[in-house]
Symmetry: D2
Subunit: 280 residues, 4 copies
């Protein structure tokens, strides 16, 4: 019988002997280690380590032994590597959702899309084509708190590990975000220079930018801030109308979101402050 595969992610203040002691705990278990990666963030002297291994372990005693050799405030994530449970939130644009649904159908997403929630019905039929549940939770005429409570009610039915904002055009309250800390991934258009406010592509067009970008990031308090996971760009030029720029933006957004989710769902991403450490 094949043995389960684990990812162990540890972060803590750096000190001498950490790798030796951590690997000592694993060695004593007789595990097959596939790979270790460590990184020490110099600015704050923070240690990050990701280890993948296979073997039959009791998780609790291993965690206990790791605690013994680590600083008190160490973060320890020890979990079997497996498909993640996710819920996707959308509004009207299909490009990111389509990318996820196709990958999901052919088992390339490393996650189960348990449901899609939309504040509009635009993407209901499309979602159903893939045999995935769609929930319409309209926001019109509701206070944000009320709408969010309704959305959360649907989410809670599915017990997802991650939420994916696949062009969900609503700003989440801090209270909502606090329920899924570093568990919400958003995709955001972005430009050089950055444009804020309405009609960013119109602004980009007026400014004559030569590059359009996208940023996939965890959501903290602010919708378009939070630790960056992936950034990509695509070249444009004066021949691009505003709608051409929008189309290019969609292409780079969906690819960036898919790459970010792959990293997150394979347990390769640490969040530290407002940054990510990614062991790819």
């Amino acid at each position: 019988m094949e043995q389960p595969t684990y990812a162990l992610l540890i972060d803590c203040p750096d000190r001498k002997g950490l790798v030796h002691h951590i690997t000592g705990v694993l060695y004593a278990q007789g595990l097959n280690i596939f790979g270790n990666q460590e990184f020490v963030e110099r600015e704050h002297n923070r240690f990050f380590m990701r280890t993948t291994f296979s073997g039959a372990i009791d998780e609790a005693p291993v965690r206990e032994k790791l605690r013994e050799v680590l600083p008190d405030d160490a973060g320890i994530r020890l979990a079997q590597m497996r498909r993640k449970r996710i819920v996707v939130l959308v509004t009207k644009e299909q490009h990111c959702l389509g990318e996820l649904l196709v990958r999901h159908q052919f088992d390339e997403l490393n996650a189960d899309i348990l449901a899609v929630i939309g504040n509009h019905t635009t993407l209901a039929k499309f979602t159903h084509q893939f045999g995935v549940n769609f929930h319409h939770v309209p926001h019109e005429g509701k206070e944000r708190g009320v709408h969010e409570a309704e959305v959360l009610e649907v989410i809670h039915r599915y017990q997802p590990e991650y939420l994916v904002l696949a062009k969900y055009m609503r700003i989440l309250s801090p209270e909502f975000v606090a329920q899924y800390p570093n568990r919400i991934v958003n995709i955001h258009h972005s430009f050089l220079p950055a444009f804020v406010g309405a009609s960013p592509y119109r602004q980009a067009y007026e400014r004559g930018v030569k590059i359009i970008g996208a940023t996939a990031h965890f959501v903290n308090n602010d919708l378009d801030e939070g630790p960056i996971i992936v950034q990509n760009v695509i070249p444009v030029d004066h021949n691009f109308s505003v709608s051409d720029m929008v189309q290019s933006g969609k292409d780079v957004e969906k690819i960036s979101l898919a790459r970010a989710l792959k990293l997150v769902f394979e347990d390769k991403v640490f969040v530290y402050g407002n940054k990510t450490i990614i062991f790819d």
Copy 2:
């Protein structure tokens, strides 16, 4: 004997028959046309055309005939294609200057570097290695107007067509810029998201960006604004220290500046409002 080669650049309000009438003027001269490119900016219905040709012409009558078939406010640039005369302004960083000097020495810049002006002496010896004049015009203890007058005095000796700001860390006054409208090319670091103020690489590091960029642009009033010519990016990750990011920034800056200058010096760039139209 080989005939001279010309570039003709026209921009004016769009109307029917422009290409037909313009090419009619050229056809009547019996010229060899290498290529035409036209573009109509839809938002303001502005017509842009670049034609390259060879032949023995009297420039004045050709210009006159073009005026007759074009709207009154048409912009007409008709000039032989040849190496441009440039002066380069620097401060202390050598990466962009080095790129230009090496290309210049091996005749890959399509321009003659007449002189380098520095507000520090840091790059004097380096410039001299390439047999190029270096002028030190210190700014310390001088009002900006006084310093700029001294810089302009040196520039005027060389009668350059273009000024290149190759990491020149002084902000130019509107009066200075007005002397070389759309004739000053600057290279500017840029990020997603954009960081303003001191230590942008420190800010980028803190923010955990995954891409570092550079923007080569014409200088209008504001040092880091003005019509964009070229933008490029280079990927970075959590392994990059601030100084690694600075090094990556240098690499993308010098390449972006060199590409922008190639386009400008080959007369391929229109400026329209705060944008460029580039026929590459």
Copy 3:
């Protein structure tokens, strides 16, 4: 009522006055010209021009007038710009087909997918989800000529303008290809260095390449040759297993194919010899 929009593509031996005379024909019709692009291939002195315009025209007399001002062997394509009619051929891999079906459903493909033909049934259900016809034409136990005749019989029912080989793993005979000259677009993995034969990703892994690429091209006689439309690459490194490389290859393939089809379906691509001239 909005007037129809046309694309006019001309290629012929270069000679003086071509642009003037061609635009003269259009000017006499009182058309609104959106854009012209011309290019002269220097090696063989071949002229290429693409013009887009709107207006109510009788196509036949315009073609006639163009013939009068052009060399005898000029190629003239004059057609209304509209969605193209296409049939897609597949085998078992879904990534390219999925990209096309999603874009098709949301009207981003600039083409109607009339049907999908597969030599396996693997993608039948997936295609049906999008409400598109799927035809299974198995090849097992048949001579190539017999199989191709069956495939062509299905194709002919739909009268498509273009065939798209979206990971169709069968080599087409010259007789098949001759029925759709420069009308069949294929997507092909590619590497630096190039690997031929079976298991190219295995070979690429063994060789330790740092880049994986894809080439979208027209099919001539040879499956993986023919005029290149789009090439893209994606970086890989030693961390990539063979299956990771396969996944990266899929990502770059589907994007490259989609971009190539956009260019082709917008009538922006000339084929000349074994090359393309693309007015983008």
Copy 4:
């Protein structure tokens, strides 16, 4: 006083406990470990580890203790991190040499260019501008063995750790290469599809490629083979003449070579079979 910084690179057959035992040796020395990276090549079950640390050590006993915990055939490289000693070989093209000389002058190469050797005098003056020795070792009228012996005689005077072939257009004999195993870095143009033989850019032009690439690699027996360190591409299109493609090729070559050397000189590169493992 600041303590010396070391890089330790180990590769050997994988077995349980390697990281634990290796870090145990280092921990016993009380060293400050900056970072560990490990990788297990699954195909052949080969373990690779790179550790950087600072501290005052006696190298010999540390090596001895490492031997005790490692398989017999383990490769161990333990050396202070410092600027490498290099000799550069050139023919007539300056772009790669220029990139190296400028970086060298401003201490961005992490290496000392001890001398440049050319089989032509073309780059002598250019090299001297940077205050670097140039040796002309002409090959005309000599058998390869004789010429190589003369080149080696010059090289041996400088005792370099690495040789850089910066567009050195001579094929090295296996005997020559054997003197610097995995110590010779070459830069090679490359294309999709690959072109062999004379005039690759002419072939690429004829084929209408949309991408031009460059590969920096270690030299084994065959000039353009050997473990790949860096690959990059740059887009081209039908507007590019053969000479434009050559210029683009130069740009991507010099950047690729510089990046490869940075990795090699910072002791980040393992060679395994015909591949590289790079801990960047």
